[in-house]
């Protein structure tokens, strides 16, 4: 399999001297194309930091990160903005949508920002998968939490990014809505070969993934391929 994202010896610490906390302790990781990777771990394990550094949202102290063989670990903010715009999709836990724009406008926002044309065939396919076709004219305040997250997923997909990072996308949803959102995400990986990195502390969510990385104290302690829910739960109990 082709690697989409490679990270070597990524080291990241916060604070100085006595208050120093090592968030990432020389982590090596490769994310393959078309794979659904979940990053798990308890609070403070460094999973969010790992995602943020991989996505170019946060700087690192040492190490190298390559996205599509482009080194992004020492790029300027301006170039990073462009890389994020063209190659990376984001789904956050909450506040994913711009309140003044309706659902359709929110979905096409990254394309508009990049002055790219909307591929309507693709757009229709995505909104169909996420079941939000009849909600396109609505403002975020008129959508339910699950619908809002589905719109956010559609927005992440619409640019056909090299990779999508989802940070606890179901953290604020009830189990039914979370199930729906995760199913849709899995479907997009399976059907369109989308690369997806999901950060979660929920074993149920992680069990949708093709591969689960478990972090603790800034290190990857497990790398599981297609684990079942019980396997994930088992690892988590340790």
């Amino acid at each position: 399999m082709v690697s989409q994202l490679k990270a070597y010896k990524v080291f990241k610490k916060y604070g100085k001297a006595e208050t120093e906390v090592v968030a990432l302790d020389y982590v090596d990781v490769e994310i393959s194309q078309g794979q659904f990777t979940a990053i798990m771990g308890p609070s403070g394990s460094g999973k969010s930091t790992l995602m943020h550094t991989l996505a170019g949202l946060d700087s690192i102290n040492s190490g190298e990160i390559f996205l599509n063989n482009i080194k992004i670990s020492n790029l300027s903010q301006k170039k990073l903005t462009k890389i994020r715009r063209d190659n990376i999709g984001f789904i956050f836990q909450q506040f994913n949508l711009v309140p003044t724009l309706n659902a359709r406008e929110n979905i096409t926002l990254p394309l508009d920002i990049a002055h790219k044309k909307v591929d309507f065939e693709w757009f229709d396919k995505i909104v169909n998968i996420f079941g939000i076709k009849d909600r396109l004219k609505h403002r975020p305040s008129e959508l339910s939490g699950g619908q809002q997250q589905r719109v956010a997923c559609a927005r992440a997909l619409v640019t056909r990014p090299a990779i999508i990072f989802a940070d606890e996308p179901t953290g604020n949803l009830d189990s039914k809505s979370s199930g729906e959102v995760l199913n849709f995400l899995k479907q997009s990986v399976d059907e369109f070969g989308q690369t997806l990195v999901l950060v979660t502390h929920n074993p149920r969510a992680a069990s949708y993934a093709d591969r689960v990385l478990v972090l603790a104290d800034g290190k990857i302690i497990h790398d599981l391929a297609k684990p079942s829910y019980d396997q994930v739960l088992q690892v988590f109990k340790e």
């Binding site: 994020r84 984001f90 949508l97 711009v98 003044t100 724009l101």
Partner: protein, 918 residues
């Protein structure tokens, strides 16, 4: 709970600071306005502090109805009788008096080294300087010596500097009699001088000889000898002493120097009362703009914190506690904001002396607010903060917690009261406008003649009513207007345009309020500009249409020496030379301007076709009848054919009395010579003359003369009752006749440029006299209007500046409110320039909304005013679109600059923290 309020403020320091800035901006404009007023008043006060620094003054009592004197002409202060010069001698004999001398104060023109008139805010004053002036006056001699000989003068230092003159130089001064060649004997330094005040001194006895006629003066200055310190009580004592020796028939009174100075400065202040009115209007505008900014910021902040207050309520805080938390914060904001505003406003006003410096006036006045003004500003700042906070605070306290939590995201609808009041203003002002536009129909056809009196009231009501209505209703129509305005922006910049539009409409109320602050300033600027250009075109159309003469000769001082007429008449290429004299004479005991012209004046100089009049002006002049201006006839109820009485001087009797006096003087001089066995010297002859005059002609003899009103006319260029010169001369002394204009016509075939140059050469020596053709007249009027306009623009620019700072404030606040959203936009790839563009467009849309409405309302106000004043001379309406385009461009450019600060803040937001922010 106060600890909570404190913590609350501390945790939202940014918001807290922004509301303090809002209060500071609002109050700073008020303090700046106050300081401006202080500056004007202190300028006037100090103007008299040193130039009239005698301990006491003796002056004439107010004129009775029948008496009359030359002094009436001097204008502002004196409707008082003249007093005898000899009183000075009598007062000097008192043991406690150091010196007493007739106070001579004449406005003149002085010429600088490079042969130009020395420029001053007012006119330059010439004063008599007694021999021992330096011993009592407190003035010091800088160089040279006091003037002794004929044609020697001394300059106050400031005048010398401005005229670039030094001791020994020769120059010219021009008084109302003639041009004098003078030598500068010395330079004096006054202890304290008002800004722009210029003084020239002449030897006292020379000055008396030149300027005192008939042994009468208007004032005598007195300096006392005081045993101990000079106190108010000791001056009062001296006053009583002098009072006791004044003869009963002297018509004189004694007042302290302080009282005199106070009266004079009060007089000036009364005369420039319109300035105070202006300042009050600006203060109200300041309050208005300030209120908008403060109230707006507050409602945004409280609204933002609603969820937090809801949480407090949920964990058990009473609504009263929540209410007082908000109010307490408002109080703190009010106090700090007012303090900063006071400092800011004081700093802003320091610009004014710099502006005046550009007009050639060096002002070294420190304009600082006094304690009362500061207290008022604090009261206003705190009150507005509290009032602005009360409604949101009540809401924060009263709303059930859960509702508050969910409501926080939704904009509040516009209050129904606001809509009703706004609609009321809109309907009533629109109907006033309809009424004014069809005024003739309503007054004449429907017979509502009483409306005439309310026309200007209706006009101002309509203008300010529409303004209020738009201010109240602007949140209602900001949506459609922004929709239209932003559509091209959305087309050109999809993302930033769409986001900007959305952000403005989301907070449409606060957007509307922010632009309202700008709207007020722009409306006033546009209104002033349109009115000013209308005044200019109206006046210039009068000049072009109504005046036939080729040239008009006039002076910057409004009065010219009579010798000018002869100089002009020497030119033989002129077909006619018609001088105009003006004098104030009493009609029905009211001083009224009377203009005297020659019989041929109308025929030569005015196109009578273009005026409205009843009766025949030419016939009236020939028959010795009066031509009364329409406005005067209306206010005094004068009718055509009516006889009115003018109080004048009985010149026949004056001539007779003068002969008698001459004979008596001859006799008395002989008697004196026989008695003293020598010839009397000049001063004794002068004394005898004065005594004899007093005996024979103690006052100018008055005559009441009846004149028929032969014509009532509306002639804008002639501001008074017109009379023919023969009749005028019969009832006025030569000193009373002020030559103020000369109308000149060319012979057929003469080249007007050549003749104009010749005439200009002839009057060159008078320095302030100009020969103007119609273009010249127009441009003089234009520059006068422009000076006034510049001052108004200066103050209004302040209000616009503050409104723009209001935009900065609102935008910064909205960046703070939208932290998460901005983080998100950055995360999905919106570049910094895209972000700046978004905020720039928001700023632009708010500004353009306010500016467009401001322009519309400003023009509306100007049209209403012009319609109301149409009959009073504002005949044309000129909207100078160029000027308006410049204002709009100015506001737009600055609005874009206004976004830079909030944009910097937005750019610096770290993405991760922004998204995680609450």
């Amino acid at each position: 709970m106060f600890r909570l309020a404190f913590k609350n403020a501390k945790s939202h320091l940014g918001r807290f600071l922004l509301s303090i800035i809002a209060v500071a901006l609002g109050t700073s404009f008020i303090i700046a306005t106050f300081c401006f007023q202080t500056a004007i008043n202190s300028t006037i006060d100090s103007a008299y502090a040193s130039s009239l620094n005698a301990d006491l003054f003796v002056r004439g009592v107010p004129e009775t109805q029948s008496s009359i004197s030359v002094s009436q002409l001097s204008g502002i202060t004196q409707n008082r009788q003249q007093i005898d010069v000899s009183l000075a001698e009598k007062i000097k004999e008192l043991p406690d008096v150091q010196i007493a001398y007739p106070n001579i104060n004449k406005s003149i023109v002085a010429v600088s080294k490079d042969e130009k008139p020395i420029y001053s805010l007012g006119t330059i004053m010439l004063r008599g300087i007694p021999e021992n002036f330096l011993q009592f006056s407190g003035w010091t001699l800088e160089s040279g010596e006091l003037p002794q000989a004929d044609n020697e003068i001394i300059l106050e230092k400031q005048t010398a500097i401005q005229g670039n003159l030094s001791v020994g130089d020769t120059t010219k001064i021009v008084d109302d009699k003639d041009i004098l060649d003078v030598r500068i004997a010395g330079i004096l330094k006054a202890p304290l001088l008002a800004p722009g005040e210029l003084l020239v001194g002449m030897n006292q006895s020379q000055a008396e000889k030149r300027y005192i006629s008939d042994g009468k003066v208007s004032q005598i200055a007195v300096w006392g000898k005081f045993a101990g310190e000079k106190t108010a009580a000791s001056i009062d004592n001296l006053r009583d002493e002098i009072k006791n020796i004044l003869p009963n028939d002297s018509h004189a009174e004694v007042i302290s120097g302080d009282q005199m100075r106070q009266e004079l400065s009060q007089n000036v202040k009364d005369n420039i009362g319109f300035v105070n009115t202006f300042i009050i209007i600006f203060a109200i505008i300041a309050l208005f703009v300030g209120c908008f900014i403060i109230a707006n910021t507050f409602s945004m902040i409280v609204h933002e914190s609603l969820r937090e207050y809801a949480m407090l309520r949920a964990i058990g805080a009473s609504s009263k506690q929540v209410f007082s938390t908000v109010i307490f914060q408002a109080l703190v904001i009010g106090v700090f904001g007012s303090a900063i505003g006071t400092l800011l406003g004081t700093a802003l006003i320091q610009i004014i002396p710099l502006i005046l410096k550009n007009f050639g006036t060096d002002i070294n006045i420190s304009v600082l607010p006094n304690i009362w003004q500061i207290l008022i500003v604090f009261a206003v700042g705190i009150t507005i903060s509290l009032i602005s906070a009360i409604f949101p605070a009540r809401k924060a306290g009263k709303t059930p917690p859960v509702q508050a939590m969910s409501e926080a995201a939704l904009p509040k609808p516009i209050g129904i009261v606001r809509i009703i009041v706004g609609a009321y203003f809109l309907i009533s002002s629109l109907s006033s406008i309809i009424l004014i536009m069809n005024f003739d129909y309503f007054t004449n056809t429907l017979g509502l003649h009483s409306l005439e009196n309310y026309k200007s009231f209706l006009a101002s009501g309509a203008a300010s009513g529409t303004l209020l209505a738009v201010l109240l209703l602007s949140p209602l129509f900001i949506k459609p207007v922004i929709w239209v305005l932003s559509s091209p922006l959305v087309f050109f910049s999809r993302v930033s345009g769409k986001l900007a539009k959305g952000n403005i409409l989301r907070n449409f109320k606060s957007s509307a309020n922010t632009s309202s602050a700008l709207l007020i300033g722009v409306a006033l600027v546009v209104c002033c500009s349109v009115l000013a250009s209308s005044v200019q075109t109206s006046v210039s159309s009068i000049i072009t249409n109504n005046i036939k003469s080729d040239f008009i000769i006039l002076s910057q001082n409004l009065r010219m020496p009579k010798s000018v007429i002869d100089k002009v008449k020497q030119d033989n290429s002129l077909a006619s030379v018609n001088p105009l004299y003006i004098s104030q004479l009493k009609i029905n005991s009211e001083a009224t301007p009377i203009i005297s012209v020659e019989d041929t004046f109308f025929k030569n100089n005015l196109d009578l076709e273009t005026f409205s009049y009843v009766g025949d002006p030419n016939e009236a002049l020939e028959k010795g009848e009066l031509i009364v201006p329409k406005y005067l006839a209306a206010s005094q109820n004068f009718a055509l054919g009516q006889y009115i009485t003018i109080n004048g001087v009985d010149k026949d009797k004056v001539e007779k009395d003068k002969k008698t006096i001459e004979q008596n003087v001859k006799k008395s001089v002989l008697e004196w010579a026989q008695k003293n066995l020598k010839q009397p010297d000049d001063s004794i002859i002068e004394q005898i003359k004065n005594d004899e005059t007093k005996k024979v002609m103690p006052d100018l003899p008055v005559v009441e003369k009846q004149f028929r009103i032969g014509c009532i006319a509306d002639i804008m260029v002639m501001p008074g009752i017109i009379i023919n010169h023969k009749d005028f001369d019969a009832i006025t002394m030569s000193e009373q006749q002020v030559l103020f204009r000369i109308f000149v016509n060319l012979k057929a075939g003469e080249n007007s440029e050549i003749v104009k140059n010749e005439l200009q050469n002839k009057v060159k020596d008078y320095y302030t006299i100009s020969v103007l053709d119609k273009n010249g007249l127009n441009s003089i009027l234009g520059s006068t209007v422009n000076i006034v306009l510049n001052l108004i623009y200066g103050l209004l620019a302040l209000s616009i500046l503050i409104a723009l700072l209001g935009i900065v404030n609102t935008l910064t606040l909205s960046v703070v409110q939208r932290t998460r959203e901005i983080g998100l936009l950055k995360a999905i790839g919106l570049s910094n320039s895209g972000l700046t563009l978004m905020l720039g467009l928001e700023s632009f849309l708010i500004a353009i909304f306010g500016t467009v409405l401001g322009v519309v309302l400003g023009i509306n106000g100007a049209v209403a005013t012009q319609t109301a004043l149409k009959d009073s001379g504002l005949s044309d309406l000129t909207i100078s679109y160029n000027n308006i385009a410049v204002f709009v461009g100015f506001v737009v450019v600055f609005s874009v600059i206004a976004c830079l600060l909030p944009a910097r803040r937005a750019k610096k937001l770290p993405i991760l923290e922004a998204i995680a922010a609450d």
